[in-house]
Each structure stands twice: as structure tokens, then as C-alpha cells.
């Protein structure tokens, strides 16, 4: 982006925060699911794309006369249901058969591919815009940094969802049950926690959050069936550098990644962004494999 007569640093900071918030939304759901089930749910990225395409279907394909916020809520719900469906139809039966986490991960890769193909069949493989005429447009300026209204929503959602999850974890029975399952699923079952039901809810919530991320990215930059892969990669990298399975870790890791990427390309071309992300990942894996927040 070329912005004349503007100091680039405020814009870099803004871009970092925006990217961080998007990665945080993916990482939060991903970590929630990983923390409770201990497997890498690779389908998470495709679930995010499903949320975006659900909104696309509502607003563009069928041009339903619904409010954009309602459409987004439905999109997030659809993503949640898809995540929950994967858990019920694939992961849970596999867990029952004592499948290893590696098997679950491979199954989730299959689910990823299938969902992505399904989206392409229904909506074509083209890159498409998600913005609608009655939607969010315009921008604000802070210290010379331009932030679109969509991006404001992204940042707000990232922080708000983090806060809500932190509240749930600390103060609700559900949060405590999740925490117990994270620590020792077998003992949790032994003491009477309905782990299947809790894990089902975790999948719904985590996937709905992924849906929100997909939808917001869609409004910000557009959608394509393969969009899930990049989201998944950045979300997992954020999780790993923050502390995989940790709520705050994922959040923190996302912003570290956002800043590293955006400041990393300050003096070099933007194509290096993904490479920088992987360099950060590898550095963390070598120096601090347990992530920023270790238990």
C-alpha cells in the first residue's frame, strides 16, 4: 500500500494489530479445541472459510434481506455447527475406538480438504468480495494510520472474544469443566464430568470463533475456498509460539506474529511475510518450544 506523506510506523503498528487480531481469533478457537482434546484440528481453517461463505451465501447468492450483523451471526453459527458436526461424526467415534492423536489429525486434514472442495463446488474457486452495499465501509485515522471500519471491528472482536473466553474459563462451571478435561480427561470422566458434551460445546464455540475470523477476513480482503489454509497456518504458528493449548498464549502469540510479520517487511518486499512467520516459528521451536506462556 502506498500512502503519500505519511510516516510508515503508525501504519505498521496498525497493520500489526489488525493481523494480530485475526490470528488471535483463529488461535483462540484452535487452542481451545487443542487444549481440551490434545489434537491438532487442521479442519479449523476450512471451518473459518465456511463461516465466510455462509455469509456470502446469505448476502450475495440469495441476497436475503437480512441485517449484516444478523448475517454474520448466522455465519458464525454455521461454522460452529460444522465444527460440532465434525466432532460428532468423525472425531468422537475415532476417540471411542482409541484412535491416536495422529489419526485424529489426519482425519481432520481429510475434513479440511473435503470442506474446501465442497465450498469450491458450491461457490466456484474464484476470489470474491464479501462487502455489501449496506455494510461496513469507510475508515478512521489514528496518528496517520488508516484503519478501515472493518479492521476496527476485527480488533474489537479479537479483544472482546478473548475477554469473554477468559471470563468463561475463570468464573463458570463450564470453564472449570473444560479446565479439568484439559488437565486429565480420564479423571474428569471418572468424577462425573460429561466430557463428550463439554467437548462438543468446545468444538461449537471454537469453530464459531473461527467462523467470525473467516467472516471478518472476508469483509477485509475477500474470500476464496483456499483461504482456510493461510488462516490455519498463521493460527497454529501463533498458538505454538504463544503456548499451545493456552488461552492467553494463543492471544499473545498472535500479536507477536502480527508485529513480527509487519515490521519484518518494513524494508523488504511483502512477499517475505510468510517466510518471516516460519522463521519466527522455527526460532521459537528451537529456543522456547513450550511457547511464551509455559505451564
Amino acid at each position: 500500500m502506498y500512502i503519500p506523506y505519511v510516516d510508515i510506523v503508525p501504519q505498521l503498528i496498525a497493520n500489526s494489530v489488525i493481523a494480530g487480531a485475526i490470528y488471535a481469533l483463529i488461535a483462540l478457537g484452535f487452542n481451545l479445541i487443542y487444549g481440551t482434546t490434545k489434537f491438532f484440528n487442521l479442519a479449523h481453517g476450512a471451518v473459518a472459510a465456511c463461516g465466510a461463505y455462509a455469509v456470502f451465501a446469505i448476502l450475495k447468492t440469495f441476497a436475503l434481506p437480512v441485517n449484516i450483523v444478523v448475517a454474520c451471526a448466522i455465519g458464525a453459527f454455521v461454522a460452529g455447527i460444522i465444527g460440532y458436526g465434525l466432532e460428532r461424526l468423525i472425531y468422537r467415534p475415532l476417540r471411542r475406538r482409541k484412535a491416536s492423536n495422529m489419526v485424529l489429525m489426519v482425519a481432520s486434514l481429510g475434513a479440511f480438504t473435503a470442506l474446501q472442495a465442497f465450498i469450491a463446488i458450491l461457490f466456484t474457486s474464484q476470489f470474491q468480495a464479501l462487502e455489501s452495499s449496506g455494510g461496513i465501509s469507510g475508515a478512521i485515522e489514528i496518528y496517520g494510520a488508516i484503519i478501515t471500519h472493518t479492521q476496527v471491528v476485527i480488533i474489537t472482536c479479537g479483544i472482546a472474544i478473548m475477554a469473554i473466553l477468559a471470563f468463561i474459563a475463570k468464573y463458570t462451571l463450564f470453564g472449570k469443566a473444560v479446565s479439568a478435561i484439559k488437565d486429565d480427561e480420564e479423571v474428569a470422566r471418572m468424577v462425573g464430568i460429561d466430557t463428550d458434551r463439554i467437548i462438543g460445546k468446545v468444538f461449537f464455540i471454537g469453530s464459531a470463533i473461527a467462523g467470525v475470523a473467516g467472516i471478518l477476513i472476508g469483509f477485509d480482503t475477500g474470500i476464496e475456498p483456499t483461504m482456510g489454509m493461510n488462516l490455519l497456518l498463521k493460527g497454529t504458528i501463533a498458538s505454538i509460539i504463544g503456548g499451545v493449548g493456552s488461552l492467553y498464549g494463543g492471544f499473545l502469540g498472535a500479536f507477536v506474529l502480527g508485529f513480527a510479520e509487519n515490521f519484518g517487511i518494513w524494508k523488504i518486499s511483502g512477499e517475505w511475510k510468510d517466510a518471516i512467520a516460519f522463521v519466527v516459528l522455527i526460532v521459537f521451536l528451537l529456543v522456547r518450544p513450550e511457547g511464551i506462556i509455559k505451564k
Partner: protein, 243 residues
């Protein structure tokens, strides 16, 4: 009257027969001490009874019902709970929440309907005060001392209010003071009419606490009967000395 029985119970790990055609019974409301040399299958018995390990052969009879497979989530319904030889707590949760989560664990709808937060908090306070862990309620379980960890695990058993309680070496490695506390708790469980299985290597404690003693050896039953009689038997002494 027997509340829990095993019928030709078998558990193998590859070629190792950890439980070898074991048929034993546990009287309702009594404390049965289980002794036996290292590797005789005591922990495996508890693991199989609680569904942590699958049954290879035979059956477990609980309350008259014969089971060939047990899943851990069925334990609350069966009225069974246990402690672990290597303590298993919810490490990243506070002492208070370790107990709270057990009280609220009667299914999600129960949690929605029995919203009486205060009642649960009172119960947490009650059991934690009883064992002297109330002051530690805000600490993570992870940060407790070894003895306190053992104690918290027993407290969880108290909170669960199960009828059949399996204790796998609850005294191992504890100081005298802590042993006293746990002896006291076990006494209360007996007084409350609970059925207790106590695995223990300390013969003095076994003698003091047991109504009945079962001696295991190589996954089978070596001897059983009244504590004094069983502990005086030559084959029992030999099994222990021979290890």
C-alpha cells in the same frame, strides 16, 4: 452381602498376566485390605475395576450386575471412585476448584438446574476444612506438597460421596502426621457405611484398619481372611520376603 466381586478376572499385557483368573469379593460396608508383593497386580485390579484398563477376560459384578467392560464415565452411576498410586489431580486448577468441579459434575443439565452456588461452596468448605486444606484453596494443585496432594485426592473422594472407594496406597511416603489425618478420614468413611478397598504395604495399618484382608500374588489370590490370621500365615510372609 457382597457389593463388588470379580469372576475369573483376567488382565494381560502382552505375555504378562497381571490378573490371572482372579475371583474375589468385597463385603458391603467393610474395609478390605489388599496386600501383595510389588507387581502382584493390585494396581491393575483397581485400574480394571474403574475402567482405566480394559478387561481381558472374566467379569466384574457390581451391585449384582455382571459387567464385561467398564467405562470411567459409568463410575459415578456405579457409585465407585478411587485414588491413584501416582496422585492424579487437576493440576492447573486451584485446590478449591478441584473439589468444586467434582460437585458440579452431575451432567450439564444438573449444573444448570442445581444453580445453588452457595450450597456447593459450603460443601467445598466443609470437606476442605475437614482435611485442613481450606487455607490452600486458592493455590494451584500443582504447587502443593506431596503430602497435600495425596490429601487433596482423598478429599475429592469425600466430595464424590461414592459407596465403593478404592484407595491405592494412600499412605505411601507420608509423614506420621499426615498418616494420622488419613487414618481418621478412612475411619469416618467406615463409620459412614462405605465399602473401602485399601491397598497398602504397611502391615500395621492393614491390621489396624481392615475388616478383611486379601493377599494377592502373581495376579491371583494367595490367601484371605481376618487380618491377624492372614498376616500370620507362612506362605503370606514368604511371598513378601521372597520379593
Amino acid at each position: 452381602m457382597y457389593i463388588l466381586e470379580t469372576k475369573n478376572l483376567k488382565k494381560s499385557f502382552g505375555g504378562v498376566h497381571a490378573l490371572n483368573d482372579l475371583s474375589i469379593s468385597f463385603a458391603k460396608g467393610k474395609l478390605t485390605g489388599i496386600i501383595g508383593p510389588n507387581g502382584s497386580g493390585k494396581t491393575t485390579l483397581v485400574n480394571v475395576l474403574t475402567g482405566m484398563q480394559a478387561i481381558t477376560g472374566g467379569a466384574v459384578v457390581v451391585g449384582g450386575k455382571s459387567l464385561h467392560a467398564i467405562r470411567p464415565e459409568e463410575l459415578p452411576r456405579l457409585g465407585i471412585t478411587r485414588t491413584f498410586q501416582d496422585v492424579r489431580l487437576f493440576e492447573q486448577m486451584t485446590v478449591g476448584d478441584n473439589i468444586m468441579v467434582v460437585l458440579t459434575a452431575r451432567g450439564p443439565y444438573a449444573a444448570l438446574t442445581e444453580r445453588s452456588e452457595r450450597k456447593r461452596e459450603e460443601r467445598v468448605k466443609e470437606v476442605l476444612e475437614k482435611v485442613g486444606l481450606w487455607e490452600k484453596r486458592h493455590q494451584l494443585a500443582y504447587n502443593l506438597s506431596y503430602g497435600q496432594r495425596k490429601l487433596l485426592e482423598i478429599t475429592r473422594v469425600l466430595a464424590m460421596d461414592a459407596d465403593i472407594i478404592l484407595l491405592d496406597e494412600p499412605f505411601a511416603g507420608l509423614f506420621k502426621e499426615m498418616v494420622k489425618v488419613i487414618v481418621h478420614i478412612i475411619g469416618e468413611l467406615k463409620a459412614a457405611g462405605k465399602t473401602v478397598l485399601l491397598i497398602e504395604h504397611n502391615m500395621d495399618l492393614i491390621r489396624e484398619l481392615s475388616d478383611h484382608v486379601i493377599v494377592m500374588d502373581a495376579g491371583g489370590l494367595l490367601a484371605e481372611g481376618k487380618p491377624d490370621a492372614v498376616l500370620a500365615r507362612h506362605d503370606v510372609i514368604e511371598a513378601y520376603l521372597g520379593e
